[in-house]
């Protein structure tokens, strides 16, 4: 590590065509060989800043210096040529291609003038994997590999293209504790070999653990750069949001009552004949939060899809308040009191070009309260929506604004406002705070706790281990389509969870059966 800046962004401003300023006069400087954290709430402008550095967006004004030399990036290619590499939060991989094909995409080695040299592609992948101690299988199809592996492929892609500065956009959001440890080890290794890393994250403990310096962004401006050792998590958090965020969640002990959701012996085989659920049984009772922990791809996706009637199980049943939900439509499920916060909010949670008002009442639009004869009662819709916008602190110009104009956190607040205000008996919350800012996360978590204490049954599925550990009254760990652990004593920590999530440990059938409260 040295004090020579490798990247300098000076006076960067970006105003989008719709007039929204995403960056205002931001100064950002990264030294060679350091790991530099970039933190800020969603909508604070850090993604925009990095998109500008990577040539995805052009700044409205300001200059970028790489190794002291002024550059303008017309495209990511220009940035790559200057040694900037980016690992996006949503992987930029082509699922049907192999690891090696993805690594060489856009720069495929050729033989006899026109054909792809697949051998050379594999060799190149292996060479880089070995040099940086990345354990990847060049011939595996990307669709078949784990999330942690995909991330390694992304980093390899950048390195093969000669990146000296790596931008990692919330890399740990999808990783397990163990995978995160592995990633950090690799990032340290890269740092030791002279690479510079820009690490975007919401997770303050990771920033403290990994990074040398931290730049904090707030509302499109840089709120300061500090040596990481010199600031506490609380200080960073205060600089981010301009107020103190309670990082520890407070909740009263649960007083569970009767069973609301009963899942019995669920089996499911996916389209590639992979067994995704292998006899899952558990109950969720009124007044409790049951968390589902597990590395992604161990059956959570399929379980949630079955619970909300998107797919049918191969075997087994799901009952809500004693009623079998097989062949119930989503409308019928909602009428039974089921609320659903989907993982993919942009596809399943909102209609992007509809207004906030319209999205909020979309599940209850048929209700007499919102209709006047053949017409909609716009006043009632507006009032209901306005009330929820205030209640959930949705940051917007007005309820008539299109939902996709909002930041990620505020979009999720719209989804949650609708789902939580439907007077639910059962809430299925799938990754409810993924990729959203600290303020929105805190609000959503507190609402979940409040609703459960007021008598809703909550099933929380989350890849964020801290989230499930802190919110849940009892915890189920899924591994390979089986429940490998059930915990109801509140005595858990991430190391122990990690062991169950990675299949190193497994409870006996008797212990797992306690998840059913017959």
């Amino acid at each position: 590590m040295s004090d020579t800046p490798v990247v300098q962004m000076l006076g960067i401003s970006k105003i989008y065509p719709n007039g929204i300023p995403a960056n205002q006069d931001v100064n950002f400087s990264v030294n060679k060989g350091e790991i530099h954290a970039l933190v800020g709430e969603n909508g604070a402008g850090k993604s925009t800043l990095m998109k500008i550095l990577f040539g995805f967006e052009k700044p409205t004004s300001g200059t970028i210096l790489i190794d002291g030399e002024e550059v303008t990036f017309a495209s990511p290619m220009a940035a790559i040529a200057k040694g900037i590499g980016m690992v996006h939060q949503h992987f930029m991989l082509v699922p049907s291609l192999t690891v090696a094909e993805n690594v060489v995409l856009g720069m495929a080695p050729k033989k006899s003038g026109m054909f792809i040299d697949f051998k050379e592609a594999v060799r190149l992948t292996e060479e880089y994997a070995e040099r940086f101690h990345f354990d990847v299988e060049p011939n595996a199809r990307v669709a078949d590999i784990s999330v942690g592996m995909k991330q390694k492929v992304e980093i390899l892609k950048a390195l093969v293209r000669g990146a000296k500065v790596l931008i990692l956009d919330e890399p740990t959001a999808v990783l397990t504790t163990q995978e995160t440890v592995e990633l950090f080890r690799q990032l340290h290794e890269l740092k030791n070999q002279g690479f510079t890393i820009i690490f975007i994250s919401h997770k303050l403990n990771e920033i403290k653990e990994l990074t040398d310096r931290v730049t904090i962004m707030r509302r499109g401006k840089a709120a300061g750069t500090y040596d990481t050792d010199a600031v506490s998590e609380q200080e960073i958090s205060r600089l981010m949001v301009g107020r103190d965020v309670v990082l520890e969640i407070e909740k009263t002990p649960a007083e569970p009552e009767e069973v609301v959701l009963r899942v019995e012996n669920l089996h499911f085989v996916n389209e590639w004949n992979k067994r995704m659920l292998n006899g899952i049984s558990f109950d969720v009772r009124k007044g409790e939060i049951v968390g589902i922990a597990g590395v992604e791809g161990n059956g959570q996706r399929e379980l949630v899809d079955i619970l909300f009637g998107l797919i049918s199980p191969e075997k087994g049943s799901v009952q809500v308040n004693g009623v079998n939900i097989a062949d119930k439509s989503q409308r019928e499920l909602r009428n039974m009191g089921v609320s659903y916060v989907p993982e993919d909010r942009m596809t399943f949670g909102i209609a992007g070009t509809a207004s906030i008002n319209e999205n909020i009442v979309s599940d209850r639009i048929a209700s007499p309260a919102f209709n006047k004869g053949p017409l909609l009662n716009m006043r009632a819709i507006r009032e209901t929506s306005q009330h929820l916008i205030e209640d959930y602190a949705i940051l917007c110009k007005s309820g008539r604004q299109h939902v996709n104009m909002l930041s990620g956190g505020n979009i999720q607040k719209v989804v949650v406002a609708r789902e939580f205000s439907a007077d639910p008996l059962l809430i299925i919350a799938d990754q409810p705070t993924r990729g959203i800012d600290v303020g929105a996360t805190e609000l959503i978590r507190n609402k979940l706790i409040d609703l459960s204490r007021e008598g809703a049954a909550v099933l929380l599925v989350s890849a964020d281990l801290n989230e499930v550990m802190e919110l849940s009254d009892s915890l189920i760990v899924l591994y390979g389509g089986n429940i490998v652990g059930y915990f109801d004593d509140g005595q858990w920590d991430d190391v122990m969870m990690g062991e169950y999530m990675l299949g190193l440990k497994k409870q006996s059938d008797e212990e797992v059966k306690r998840a059913c409260h017959a």
């Binding site: 082509v94 291609l97 792809i116 049918s312 596809t347």
Partner: protein, 317 residues
């Protein structure tokens, strides 16, 4: 009657005819495959074939060279496709709308242009000379093989090219950097652009190739199959090709097999038309009915698979 049909299907002449009938559908189906691999539905194939058939013929007539005619058809097909690509990629027009526009242009424009250039209405039969028609070739050795020789030899040059292209297109898609880029752009454009592959450029290339292939199909129609251009000549082949692409799972070989199926249906319909007491209107429906049935079976099969996977309602995407 079924027995009669079965007899026909295995006659040498009929098998020969099937290959001939299949060729134009195959050109268009391959055109659809290439475009679809880059995530573009080229529904403008019908109109593209119509116009390239006309211009192929006219170029051949003006130059008295079938080769220049074919070249002209390919160029016109490419230009039409590039025009679609231009509206789609530069002005963000829905590609389906651009395709519809090309089809309407083909429908009305061809008749108008024919009249403008030649003063003829509806067809070019009187302009046909042997120079204009694409020649057929006998393949040495193969032509002497009993049975097979009579089926495989003596076809129009473009028929051979059509089947050769199945392999060439496969090679292009799966063995060349361009093909890798086309597939990447079609499947995840963001992944492709993040490594500096220009999505726009690749899509232009793919749609241009699609147009060139449709152009070959058009040339085949006017300069060999129909022996001159006429108004109703393409007769839905551009759309049948889209069905062949879908049923062939978007792969070159699959598209060839389904094209052969539609070719067979076409061939049978002209055979049946020769029978007494059979309505010719009803009979001319056969290829289209087979297309609809084919699509139905394909869709039914696919839904069954989805059901097997447990997907009971396709919500959202």
């Amino acid at each position: 009657m079924l027995k009669q049909l079965a007899e026909w299907v295995f006659q040498v002449e009929f098998l020969f005819v099937i290959l001939r009938i299949t060729a134009p559908i195959l050109f268009a189906a391959l055109a659809a495959v290439v475009a679809e691999k880059a995530a573009m539905s080229n529904i403008g194939l019908e109109g593209t074939m119509m116009l390239s058939a006309l211009f192929g013929f006219l170029f051949a007539y003006w130059t008295q060279s079938w080769l220049l005619g074919v070249l002209g058809a390919v160029i016109v097909g490419t230009l039409l496709a590039l025009m679609m690509g231009f509206f789609y990629l530069e002005f963000k027009t829905d590609i389906i709308l651009a395709g519809i526009a090309v089809n309407m242009l083909g429908e009305g424009g061809a008749i108008f242009l024919l009249f403008m250039f030649t003063g003829l209405r509806g067809n070019t039969a009187i302009l046909v000379t042997p120079n204009i028609l694409i020649p057929t070739i006998d393949i040495p050795l193969i032509k002497d093989i009993p049975f097979l020789g009579k089926i495989l030899s003596g076809h129009c040059i473009l028929t051979y090219i059509a089947f050769l292209l199945v392999w060439l297109i496969w090679l292009l898609l799966y063995r060349t950097p361009l093909g890798l880029n086309i597939r990447a752009v079609g499947e995840s454009p963001q992944a492709a652009s993040s490594v500096g592959v220009s999505v726009k450029r690749i899509k232009y290339i793919a749609i241009a190739m699609s147009g060139a292939l449709a152009g070959l199909g058009g040339a085949f129609m006017s300069m060999y199959y129909s022996q001159g251009w006429n108004q109703g000549m393409v007769a839905g082949r551009g759309f049948i090709a889209l069905a062949a692409q879908a049923m062939g799972r978007g792969e070159p070989v699959g598209a060839m097999l389904t094209s052969l199926l539609f070719g067979t249906a076409h061939g049978l319909s002209s055979k049946v038309a020769g029978l007494p007491n059979v309505s010719s209107f009803l009979v001319s429906m056969i290829p289209y009915a087979v297309t609809i049935m084919g699509l139905f079976i394909y869709a039914w099969n696919r839904t069954r698979k989805l059901k097997k996977r447990g997907i009971r309602r396709l919500t959202g995407v």
